[in-house]
Amino acid sequence: MYEGLSSPNIHTPKSLGEYASIILHYPTSSLWAGGTFIMTRPDSYPSRMMNAEIVYLGDVEELHRFQRNDRFAEFGAMVTLDGILNTGKAVLPRVLIDNILTIGSRLITRRATIGGTICTKNFTTSFPGTLLVLDATAEVKFIKKKRLHSRWMQITRLLDRNGRIQLPPQGIISRVRIAFSEKNCQYFREIGSFMLDPENSVAVAFAATLDQDILINPKIAFTYPSHGVCYSRDIDSIFSSLRFPLDDSEIHTLESMIFTFIESSFPNISPLQRTRTSGIVHQIIDSLNEMTLTASPDVPAGYSR
């Protein structure tokens, strides 16, 4: 059955310096983090497409580091999602925790890494959208003139025009920095299975501060696994111009504005994805309306929870 297939060579660098020298020798090699995405592809094995050189990042010590101060947490790219939950469940933003919890069993989250969830090839997980609304930054290491350089970049800057994460050639994400958010409205919702039904699933991440019926610094990102992340400052500014609670006609207008933008970015989203996106937008607005209406007169709206 597998006649003619050659076994890929596995490189296991112990440091980023060693990684750089391997990449210089084998510039087209594939990177392997937790393997949860690669191994769940139906054609993952036997595969003639699989590159002959695989660089396994699991032994790079620098990528497993985790540090935290009173302003932010910094995770090495190989920190697992379960590791993130164990180390920072009480302090990390709610939207990130909810995103990790929707992934499912610990059998998956114990293997999936934060770097791997951002850098999947031809597929977008729900993580870039969540990190984007949290204003997260990532340290990108890349080879230039045969030397390893690094640069901190915002996740928004890593998105290309099609909503996919685009790294420099032979680049990797080595660290992700997430600020402890003080935003009091954080919302994450995923409908459908990203891994099993990418054509019909959708995830929405939303974060804002609700203060006296208006949203301050709102950010919303829509993720469609086979298309990419849909994010626009225009939608954010529409949200910040609203005064809550919204009535039905205002909700309808907002929804149509959002869909005009989504369909201009991703004209091929399925009808089910459209319906699901609409449902999530309604849920977000309903919860914002509820927060505004239930806030006590003494306490500014949004701080009631």
């Binding site: 076994s7 993952s44 595969s47």
Partner: protein
């Protein structure tokens, strides 16, 4: 690629494709097609094995990651004292998994009992990978709690 590992207590040197999934290694190279399913990555949860005592999906573990590690399938695990603890827990709660998911559920229970996890949310989250509806969530939590108790008593008696 040559890979040294321990599978079901046997120390082996296997000559394999380095990216071959563990589920296929167990089926094709070890001939264990009774307990380990190969779902081709659909995350059915039925290919669960213990790798260094932790439950993992065999379809997600490539060959190069089992170098120097200990893999335990249900075939060898069912003969151990630890499995007897889990069977006792099944009996005391009065619920047994169905034949389809018996192996995978038992291995996940073992991983949870070994880790000493008592938080109901964590227990249910770990077991959510098995989609078979043959057990109630309350029963699963009780089985883990009972299993931890039985294991602790056995360890005390031994010491």
């Amino acid at each position: 690629m040559k890979i040294d590992c321990t599978i079901d207590g046997k120390t082996l040197t296997l000559s394999l494709n380095s990216d071959k999934p563990l589920s296929l290694i167990l089926r094709e190279n070890m001939g264990d097609d009774s307990q380990v399913n190969h779902c081709n990555g659909s995350m059915c949860g039925l290919c669960t094995v213990l790798v260094d005592g932790k439950a993992m999906l065999a379809c997600m573990v490539p060959a190069f990651e089992i170098r120097g590690r200990t893999v335990t399938t249900f075939d060898s695990f069912r003969k151990t004292r630890n499995m007897k603890d889990i069977e006792k827990a099944y009996e005391s709660v009065g619920r047994f998994p169905c034949t389809e998911c018996y192996a995978s559920r038992s291995l996940i229970f073992e991983s949870l009992i070994d880790e000493g996890v008592t938080d109901p949310e964590t227990i249910l989250k770990e077991l959510s990978i098995v989609r078979c509806p043959c057990m109630d969530p309350e029963d699963e939590i009780m089985i883990v709690h009972r299993g931890i108790e039985i294991r602790r008593k056995r360890n005390v008696r031994r010491s």
